[in-house]
C-alpha cells in the first residue's frame, strides 16, 4: 500500500505544521502570560479576564464541526501536543490521570504556574479515571469530605464550559438506599450534617424512591427499602472526557504531557526533591506532585517514605445497552451494589472491593457475583439483561478509607492518593486543593487530609453513616 502512504504523508506534514504553530502560541502564551493568570474562568481568582484558552487552542463548537465536515474532518488538530521533556520545570506531576491533570490545570489556571510537566507511565487517563462507574456525589457525612467533594461537584457543573470540552456532566440525581433501621438513622444523620455543610440532600420516603426509580423493588423479603438519601444534583459524567478535556486545556497552557514515560527514581538534595529519573531521562523540578492512584506506595518508596495504604482491586461491569429505563443513580450499601445507566444505554454496575493486596487490575469472580445478586434482588428486571464486560482497577485503601492530600517528609514533594473507591467524583476538587497546596503550602480543602492524622489518631471515617454494629 505504498501509494496510500501519500495522503498519509500529507496529513503528517499538515500535523507538523499545526504543531509548530501551536508550539509558537504555547510559547508565546507561556512567556507573555505567566506573570498574570492567563486562563480566564468563572471560578478562578482571575474571574472576568480574557479567555486564554480560546487563542491557545482551537475552540470546539457546533460551528467548528460544520466547518470541518465540509473538509471531511481532515483539518482537526491534535487535542494535546506530544512533546519531548524539557530539562527543568517549575513543577512536575507524576501521573496523568484525572487527579494529576486537574492538579496541573489548576496550577496554571489559579496560580499562573504553567511551566509544568505531567509524566505518565502509560497513556493519559488510562488508570482508574477510565475504569470507574462515573458516579458524582458529595453527600458525605464528615465536614472535610463534604467540603472537598462538594467543591468537586460544583466544579463539575461548569467543567464542560471551563474546558471547552463536553464531559457530559449529568446531574440526574443519586439515591443511597436505607435498607435497615440502622442505615436509615445513618442517612438521616447525614442529611442533617449536609444541611450545615451547604450540600443539598434530603431523606426521601420509599414512595419517592419508587417515583424516581420505577424499576426498583421496594419490598425485598430480606432488606425492604425504608427510604433513601437523595442528592438531586449528584449524577454522572463521561470519565474519559474528563481526562481528555483537562489534558487538552493543560497542553494549551503550554504544559507538557509526557506519555509512555515511567519514573524510575526521585532525586533529593538535602531533604528536598530536585529531579526525577525517567525512561526518557532526568528531568529537574522545583516542586513534585505524586498523583498515582494504585501505585502510590511504589512511587512514594522512590522518594523514601512509606504510606498508610494498601492496593486492592475494585471491580465493575456493564450490561449490554438498552433503551433508557433508569434516570438516577442508585446505591444499595447494605447489599453492596450500585447501578446507573450510561448515555449509551449500558447499565453500569459496581460493588465492593476485593480484600487482598493486588496490582493485577483483575479481581475475583465472587465479588462480581455478590454485586449482581444484590442488584437482581433490588432491580429484578436486570435478571434478563446480560453482562457485557467486567473489569478491575487498583485502588489505594488508607487506614481510615479517606484520601491523603499532603506534604511529605521530603521537602517540596507532595502527594495526592488514597481515594479508595471514590476518586472519580473528586477529580476537580482534588486537583484544585492539590494545586493550592503545591502553590501556597496549604489549602483549607486539603488541610484535614494530611498524612499526620494517622499519627495523631484524627481520622476521617465515612463508614460511620453506614455503621457496623447494632
Amino acid at each position: 500500500m505504498t501509494q496510500s502512504r501519500d495522503h498519509l504523508a500529507q496529513a503528517r506534514k499538515a500535523r507538523q505544521e499545526m504543531q509548530e504553530l501551536r508550539f509558537a502560541s504555547g510559547r508565546f502564551c507561556a512567556q507573555i502570560c505567566r506573570p498574570q493568570y492567563p486562563f480566564a474562568s468563572r471560578t478562578g481568582p482571575n474571574r472576568g479576564k480574557f479567555s486564554g484558552v480560546s487563542f491557545a487552542m482551537r475552540h470546539y463548537s457546533v460551528f467548528a464541526i460544520v466547518k470541518e465536515a465540509l473538509g471531511y474532518h481532515q483539518g482537526w488538530e491534535r487535542a494535546w501536543r506530544n512533546p519531548t521533556p524539557k530539562a527543568q520545570y517549575d513543577a512536575i506531576i507524576i501521573g496523568a490521570g484525572g487527579h494529576g491533570l486537574a492538579t496541573a490545570y489548576y496550577l496554571g489556571k489559579n496560580f499562573g504556574i504553567t511551566n509544568v510537566a505531567v509524566i505518565e507511565k502509560g497513556w493519559l487517563g488510562g488508570g482508574n479515571t477510565g475504569r470507574n462507574t462515573t458516579i458524582i456525589r458529595s453527600n458525605y457525612l464528615q465536614d472535610p469530605s463534604a467540603a472537598i467533594y462538594e467543591k468537586s461537584r460544583s466544579l463539575y457543573e461548569t467543567l464542560s464550559q471551563d474546558l471547552n470540552y463536553n464531559i457530559m456532566f449529568s446531574p440526574r440525581g443519586v439515591i443511597m438506599l436505607a435498607q435497615t433501621e440502622h442505615e436509615k438513622r445513618g442517612y438521616l444523620r447525614t442529611a442533617h450534617a449536609n444541611s450545615l455543610q451547604g450540600v443539598e440532600t434530603r431523606f426521601i420516603t420509599p414512595r419517592e424512591v419508587k417515583e424516581l426509580c420505577p424499576i426498583i423493588h421496594l419490598e425485598g423479603p430480606r432488606y425492604p427499602v425504608l427510604g433513601g438519601l437523595w442528592q438531586a444534583r449528584g449524577g454522572t459524567a463521561r470519565h474519559d472526557a474528563v481526562a481528555w478535556g483537562y489534558a487538552r486545556a493543560c497542553s494549551a497552557m503550554g504544559m507538557d504531557i509526557i506519555q509512555q514515560c515511567e519514573v524510575t527514581a526521585i532525586h533529593r538534595e538535602n531533604g528536598a526533591v530536585s529531579a526525577i529519573e525517567t525512561t526518557k531521562g532526568r528531568i529537574g523540578c522545583n516542586k513534585l506532585g505524586i498523583v498515582v492512584a494504585g501505585h502510590s506506595s511504589h512511587v512514594a518508596d522512590m522518594a523514601g517514605f512509606r504510606l498508610p495504604i494498601e492496593s486492592v482491586a475494585l471491580q465493575a461491569l456493564v450490561s449490554e445497552p438498552i433503551k433508557p429505563c433508569m434516570d438516577v443513580v442508585v446505591m444499595a450499601n447494605t447489599v453492596h451494589g450500585y447501578m446507573s445507566q450510561s448515555d449509551k444505554g449500558e447499565m453500569v454496575i459496581g460493588g465492593g472491593a476485593d480484600g487482598y493486596n493486588n496490582y493485577t487490575q483483575r479481581g475475583s469472580f465472587q465479588h462480581i457475583e455478590e454485586t449482581v445478586r444484590a442488584l437482581v434482588e433490588t432491580f429484578p428486571m436486570i435478571s434478563r439483561l446480560k453482562m457485557l464486560r467486567q473489569w478491575g482497577g487498583i485502588v489505594d485503601m488508607t487506614g481510615d478509607r479517606s484520601p491523603i492530600i499532603s506534604k511529605t517528609p521530603v521537602e517540596n514533594c507532595f502527594i495526592n492518593c488514597g481515594w479508595g473507591t471514590g476518586g472519580f467524583k473528586a477529580i476537580p476538587g482534588s486537583g484544585w486543593a492539590m494545586a493550592e497546596l503545591m502553590a501556597k503550602g496549604h489549602s483549607p480543602l486539603a488541610d484535614e487530609f494530611g498524612l499526620n492524622r494517622f499519627r495523631e489518631g484524627r481520622f476521617i471515617d465515612e463508614s460511620v453513616a453506614a455503621g457496623v454494629a447494632h
Binding site: 501505585h295 506506595s297 498508610p308 495504604i309 492496593s311 487482598y356 493486588n358 487506614g399 499519627r455
Partner: protein
Amino acid sequence: MLLLTCPYCGVSADETELSPGGEAHLKRFGPGSSDEDFEGYLFMRHNQKGVHFERWRHTYGCGKWFLAARCTATLEVFGTYSAQTPEPPKEIIAKIQAKRPDWSLT
C-alpha cells in the same frame, strides 16, 4: 479466584473459604511505644508490588489463621506457613529466591 493451601488442614482452599488479613509479621507496639512506632505498626504498610507476606484465615474451613508469601503482581503463591511464625521462614525465602534470584527480604 485465588487458591491457597491451608498449612493446618492441608486443604487447597478456594478464596471463598478464606478471609484476607493484610500484611504479616507486623511487630505490635503497645503502651509506652513512640508515636512513630505505633503509627508504623498500625498503619504504615510495605504494600509491595511483588512478593508480599500476608495473613489469611481459613474462615470457612478449620478456622485457623495462616501466613502466605504471594506476588501481588503475578499472584504466584510461593508458600503458606503457620501464623505462629515471627518472620518469613528460611525455606520460603529459599523458594522465592530460587525463582527470583534478584529478590531479597526488605
